[in-house]
Subunit: 129 residues, 2 copies
């Protein structure tokens, strides 16, 4: 199957698939005309990548997860560690964002939000320290 069909069936874009190839996550046989040729097994890899990316694993993590996935002698502890480290990163970012959102919501709640220029949001941003 060519890259277009592989894209359709994996839920990725052809661009992404080529990119993942340059990053060493997938490989594809080449036909005589230079076209990439994907087998069902490659599709499984592509879907794996899509699921991992849907959980926002960076490609570097995906590479390691794929290696573990292929390794029948893997230790589930290794997979777990990658996942939990990623969870920690996600939660840290999410909490930072929500803290910012809270501050801003608070400021906005005290802003008249009308035609007058007075605005606690700007007052906060212009603080001297």
């Amino acid at each position: 199957m060519n890259i277009g069909e592989a894209a359709r069936r994996s839920g990725l874009s052809a661009k992404m698939i080529r990119h993942y190839e340059t990053q060493g996550l997938v490989t594809a046989r080449r036909l005589a005309n230079g076209y990439r040729d994907y087998a069902e097994a490659d599709l499984a890899v592509l879907r794996f990548i899509r699921h991992a990316r849907a959980l926002a694993f960076p490609l570097e993590d995906v590479r390691r997860l794929l290696a573990l996935w292929r390794d029948r002698n893997r230790a589930s502890a290794d997979v777990r560690r990658i996942a939990l480290d990623h969870v920690a990163a996600l939660e840290a970012k999410a909490q930072a964002m929500q803290a910012m959102a809270h501050s801003l919501r608070h400021l906005a709640a005290h802003c008249h939000g009308d035609g007058r220029p007075d605005c606690p949001i700007l007052n906060e941003l212009e603080k001297t320290p």
Copy 2:
């Protein structure tokens, strides 16, 4: 004051200040030798930018907030709208991240995390659909 001192006193890096200049957020007088020269008023702008960036406003938003800040006839409603739109964006991202974190935590909780290869995380990632 030169860019190094402006950086120290604003809490930004000299690199960032130059970048903000290319983006039209700050301007600086130039000395005869080509060095940028900042006044106290410029420092206030730089600190404003730092505070806005600390709340993760994209530079485009910072540009608009600065324009409103300088405009004595601004309507606080305009500031508020920018802020609340940004809050919505932050919360959407934060929630998406926490949803991913939850899923992964759940999967990891069912993973032995020992030397055995069996792993629900990988099972999830390899799902066919």
